[in-house]
Amino acid sequence: MRPLLTRAWRETVTDMWLAGPATLAMLVLIFIPVGIVAILSVTDYQFGARSFRWVGVDNYVTLFTDPIGRRALVNTLIYVAVVIPFSMGLALAVALGLHRLAAWWPWLSSLLRAAYFLPVAATLVAMAIAWQMLLHPNIGLVNSTLAAIGLPGRDWLSDRGLVLYTLAAIGIWQTVGYNMVLFLAGLSAIPQHLYDAAAVDGADRGWDRFWTVTWPMLGPTTLFVAVITATNAFQVFETVATLTRGGPAFASDTLVYALYREGFVYFKAGYASAITMVFFVVVVVLTLLQFRVLERRVHYR
């Protein structure tokens, strides 16, 4: 009996079955919403309003020129610039230490690894309450410890010059564990024979070993960690929302918190959409950067 369809057609139908649902889901859940947000970002639409006006790039102009919008942008950049190096540096140091420790004292190494990973697994909102108590100006553990060693306490969350860095410190605390796990995986993938060769060649002490073998071989991991950390840092929201609400006086306002406030408190959907688009572009650029550089430089071809 002759089949109903030719072979080429049957294969096309199979392809559609396999790729179709995922493509459709991506279209409905990602591309169409992004399109809608992009359209909304050039209007003055407000939630619940029956009509809207086209305002062109006004929303974007506001974001980049209005003091509050600029503040959110600059704060976010400062936050990212602080979190990336410290979070990565600490994570690498911890990973190197734990990797070394695992050879001598495996159970202590895995215990510490779990401890460092705990902030990643824990709910940040719940952890924020713990931080709030620790950082309380009068009864907080941080200030009492400082007082015990004779240093003056600070208003960690209400000092305008300090609050952003306090939040950055919490952000670092939260991401070190995750980055550490990534670095540990990278470290365990470095072949032992390279360290042997380095030892025979004279790069046998810690620093030389690190620069000759460990650091270059961690290249792909480091880049991956940098992009992941940057993407996460740009999205900082929970600590801002629970600890400071962007205050005092917008000193800790960030991009995503501003987006939340404009969109869900003031219902300015058009302006919130513009912020979303800026955020979206940043994430896309970071992702492209990761793919490009990861493909080319870091595999040593």
């Binding site: 030892a199 004279g202 030389d208 071989m217």
Partner: protein, 374 residues
């Protein structure tokens, strides 16, 4: 001169090396030969200083080097996986031992290495040395490439170049040819022995391939289960193996090992035509005969049986002869001759001086010989 004295290495509960003693004479090519897991690579790592013995001493020129690192011992090592630094060019890979030895931390630091006059002078010297080594190994045109762009044989040469560049007193090679294809392996064998002759340095070569060890070395230490079963020249190992394990390991065709009764000085078949001579004969013997030492004859054979199988190898033929009792012997016959068909009778002859007699229980060589009955 490198000397190991009673070197023992334990990893937790398992003992990998049981009191190894070995001397590597200056300028010699010594192979450590054995099956995988016999401790030969561990021995090499202990010589290099990458691993430390649990007990025993390592001496270089009669000096205990236990406290010296691998670099301080001035040994060079070539690894099975080549262990080239993937982010450095071939030239940088070869120059690394020089950089580490001759340049201080300042001169090595990025940027400073371009500014400091002393760094530039040293770098120029290194470039000349790297160039000379590269020319010797025929890899001059590869100097600007990264290891990922090289073939296996080229990586091998770069690894040798990195070992060669700082003129070490001892070369340690850990199965350097095992990742190459068969043809290239034979070619690299010749290049390595030529290199050995040219440098005049001692080479210690780890391999599991007896053909490599036999063809390249002037001394072989056979490792079995963490002990040196026998150390000697390739000829000694081939002609007078001290045990049946060594006899079975050496030789390109596996040796025939037959367990036969020897009650009242009379050997069981198929050795009925021979007497054991030279001392007191135990009740049972293991007789080892290499296929090379059996020949196919038509008249007055020492062994008469039937052809069980023939393997044609080109230059020669490996014929398996089965005897009435079920015992089998493999013999080599010239490739151009003709042999009886399978199942047909065939006769073999043996030069009795070439037979090895072992104790069947301990496997050790017995100081006995065979003699053909008149």
């Amino acid at each position: 001169m490198l000397e190991l004295r009673d070197v023992t290495r334990r990893f937790g509960e398992t003992t990998v090396l049981h009191g190894i003693s070995l001397t590597v004479v200056d300028g010699s090519f010594t192979s450590l030969l054995g099956p995988s897991g016999c401790g030969k690579s561990t021995t090499l790592r202990i010589m290099a200083g990458l691993d430390r013995p649990t007990a025993g001493q390592v001496l270089i020129d009669n000096r205990d080097v236990a406290e010296l690192t691998a670099a301080q011992r001035n040994v060079a090592m070539v690894f099975q996986s080549y262990a080239l630094y993937p982010h450095l060019t071939v030239a940088q890979n070869i120059a690394l031992p020089l950089v580490m030895r001759h340049m201080n931390r300042f001169e090595r630091a990025p940027l400073f290495d371009r500014i400091l006059p002393s760094a530039r002078v040293k770098q120029a010297g290194h470039r000349a040395q790297v160039g000379a080594v590269a020319e010797m190994l025929g890899i001059t045109e590869l100097l600007d490439r990264k290891p990922a762009q090289l073939s296996g044989g080229q990586k091998q040469r770069v690894a040798v170049g990195r070992a060669l560049v700082r003129d070490p007193s001892l070369f340690l090679l850990d199965e350097p040819l095992s990742n190459l294809d068969a043809k290239l392996r034979v070619q690299m064998r010749g290049e390595l022995t030529a290199l050995h002759r040219r440098t005049g340095r001692s080479f210690v070569y780890v391999t599991h391939d007896q053909a490599e060890a036999m063809s390249m070395s002037d001394r072989i230490a056979v490792f079995i289960d963490g002990r040196i079963a026998q150390a000697g020249s390739p000829r000694t190992l081939f002609e007078r193996p001290v045990s049946r394990t060594v006899a079975a390991f050496i030789g390109s065709h596996p040796i025939n090992l037959l367990d036969v009764g020897a009650a009242r000085g009379e050997l069981e078949d198929p050795f009925g035509g021979f007497w054991p001579v030279g001392g007191e004969v135990p009740a049972r013997l293991t007789i080892g005969i290499r296929p090379e030492h059996l020949s196919v004859v038509e008249t007055r054979p020492a062994f008469a049986g039937h052809v069980a199988a023939i393997e044609y190898l080109g230059a020669e033929m490996l014929v398996t002869v089965r005897f009435p009792g079920g015992a089998e012997l493999r013999a080599l016959a010239p490739g151009e001759g003709s042999l009886p068909a399978i199942g047909q009778p065939i006769g073999l002859d043996l030069d009795p001086a070439r037979a090895h007699l072992f104790d069947p229980l301990s496997g050790e060589r017995l100081d006995l010989g065979l003699e053909r009955k008149p």
